[in-house]
């Protein structure tokens, strides 16, 4: 099995440690991983702003870079959802279509494709899980609180393998953090307020770390935490699952 690692633009530039943890974790689990270097961005920042007609070149680049792999795995639910729903290629339409079905966010790749039943990791801390909206309602990484349906959570399933970890519960288990791409600046007041409220739910319930499968949300909450000079940190789930003994 050969996996192409997709490290979204902002993860590449600001959170390399999450990319490294994803790579190391997959390798630990016996997967052959490569990082195609011509990759850049999934195109979502443009598309969600209404400029999906400008994402053609991004799409071509992505298709070219990843068409040869069995799977594409990325540590970001939002980018993965965008690609699954919107990746198209004019040069090679069938390759893009085929690729859409082989792109996975890291957590779902571990639970659904690798179907792992155990994991060696240790992280003796109180951790709050942020359910990112696109991972939750788009990729169905967990059950959504609005639906009348049996509960499950893929991130929590994995985190429960981690030795010493204590998962805290939240007052609102899957409310949006308010990042929303360009929303975070276009609607500064509401976005910041949503971020503050989300962070305070975690802090009040005793989290030392906030984790999740999407760094864009974590980046947003980190911005709030740092401004508040809080000791609470954010950490991508890959880093916890890859944390040493």
């Amino acid at each position: 099995m050969k996996v192409g690692l997709f490290v979204p633009c902002y993860v590449d530039q600001f959170y390399p440690q999450a990319g490294i943890a994803t790579l190391e974790l997959l390798e630990k689990l016996g997967v052959e991983v490569e990082f195609p270097e011509r990759q850049t961005c999934c195109g979502q920042p443009m598309a969600n702003s209404g400029f999906s007609h400008l994402t053609g070149d991004c799409d071509e680049l992505f298709t070219e870079s990843f068409a040869g792999y069995d799977y594409v795995v990325a540590p970001s639910g939002s980018c993965v959802l965008h690609l699954k729903e919107h990746l198209h290629s004019k040069k090679n339409p069938s390759a893009a279509e085929d690729l859409r079905g082989r792109i996975y966010e890291l957590v779902e790749f571990l639970t659904d494709i690798l179907q792992i039943k155990s994991l060696k990791a240790r992280f003796p801390h109180k951790v709050g899980v942020h359910q990112s909206c696109h991972g939750l309602r788009g990729l169905h990484l967990s059950q959504m609180s609005e639906l009348v349906a049996p509960g499950f959570s893929k991130p929590e399933y994995l985190l429960n393998f981690v030795e010493g970890i204590e998962l805290i519960s939240l007052n609102r288990k899957d409310e949006c953090c308010g990042f929303g791409g360009t929303f975070c600046v276009a609607e500064e007041a509401v976005s910041s307020k949503m971020g503050k409220d989300r962070v305070s739910d975690h802090v009040q319930n005793g989290a030392e770390y906030i984790t999740g499968a999407d760094l864009s949300c974590l980046m947003h909450m980190e911005g709030i935490l740092k401004r508040q000079k809080s000791g609470v940190k954010v950490m991508h789930i890959a880093e916890i699952l890859n944390a040493g003994e």
């Binding site: 490290v7 633009c9 902002y10 993860v11 590449d12 530039q13 600001f14 959170y15 390399p16 990319g19 790579l23 990082f35 270097e37 011509r38 850049t40 195109g43 920042p45 969600n48 209404g50 400029f51 007609h53 400008l54 994402t55 070149d57 991004c58 680049l61 909206c133 696109h134 309602r137 788009g138 609005e146 009348v148 609102r172 949006c176 308010g178 990042f179 929303g180 791409g181 360009t182 929303f183 975070c184 600046v185 276009a186 609607e187 500064e188 007041a189 509401v190 976005s191 910041s192 307020k193 949503m194 971020g195 503050k196 409220d197 947003h220 980190e222 911005g223 709030i224 740092k226 401004r227």
Partner: protein, 465 residues
Amino acid sequence: MVKEETQQQHKGLAEHSGLADIFNRDEQRVNWHDETLWFVRSKRDKAAHSLPEWELLRETASQIKHNVLSDLDTYLQQFEEQALINGVTVHWAADAREHNQIVHSILKKHEINRMVKSKSMLTEECHLNEYLKEHGVEVIDTDLGERIVQLAEEPPSHIVLPCIHKKKEEIGELFHTHLGTAAGESDPQVLTEAARQHLRESFLTRRLALTGVNFAVAETGEFVVCTNEGNADMGSHLADVHIASMGIEKIIPRRKDLGIFLRLLARSATGQPITTYSSHFRKPRAGQEMHIILVDNGRTVQLGREDFRNSLKCIRCGACMNTCPVYRRSGGHSYHNAIAGPIGSILAPNLDMKAYADLPFASTLCGSCSNVCPVKIDIHDQLYKWRQVLVKEGHVSPVKAMGMKVMAFTFAMPRFFAFAGKAGRVVMKYLPFVVSNKLNPWYKEREMPKPPKESFREWYKRERR
């Protein structure tokens, strides 16, 4: 002052972000508003979870509405035919102006210049109250929440809970001014009793009552009006003339379909198992005149937009507003449209793209709205699709358009991307949230992410190649 500013924004080029900014100046109030509506969302969750067949009900309702929208003309004709047999006068209005003129003509015919009206979002959409006021007709809104915002000279901020943005102390002040309650009185029971007495006099003396319509049954020609206060019944039973205004999408095929819709409506709206009064109106009583006005006002245009036609399934429960994290923290008035929240944001651009170009962007696309919608409208997908339409139609600032082009260019050039990234993460300035200066809205309440020593690709080159 805030209210004046808000009103000014309404008159000029209102923008959701600006109005939301004003709303957020009082954080305690935002917290209160958010908690109040979250409480309603929680009640909805409890009510939904009490029915194991909830998701099946949603799916069935969605399919019934799908059928209706696919054959709307036939159902409307069937409804009209039955209503005529029942002795009801049926009017067709192409737009808001025609609707208002029809109402006015009925008033004139009976030489009536004072009327009561129960809750009808359609008449808000048509700005009927303003129109009638200009023509010398006094309208008293009889839904308590609507009466409160009417006294405050404000539009409703929520389609089910019109005055949810007002605290009881503020309502006390209004009632003190308009209904003569004691100064400082804010006990809900006392205030409600004052409103009851005031409205009773209106019910007894007005000869014309207008109501909305929740469901219109094609097979029988009857319509159903749901209220918790019984005010639609009080008004219409005591009046000589009853006018019911309805959007043409309110049709359901059969009476038995109500068994699905009534169960969904109240649970989704307020978490009640059923609305207190679900009143069926079929024919005028002896000596009474009954009119139905069927209003298009853009609905057939929306029906023709394939990506957006599902929005016409809406049964106006307001669940998408209660769950929306943006609505809860920006208030209904920030949407500067008769219908606020997520559903308002996909309906409004159909009526006027330029005026409402901001609304589909007033969302994080979190998707909670689509999940609570009792008729399974793909609300957040439609918000995304409206964004594409609005950009293509040119309803977006040239600065933003240029920024997006630069961003697209950068991401299309892997080497430039890598180079720009290396040069102090310069590339990231095209992502709008990381411009390192204090004018950047990100920075107002949030710190920037700290650029690491090396990017992932630099690390990979060094370590793995």
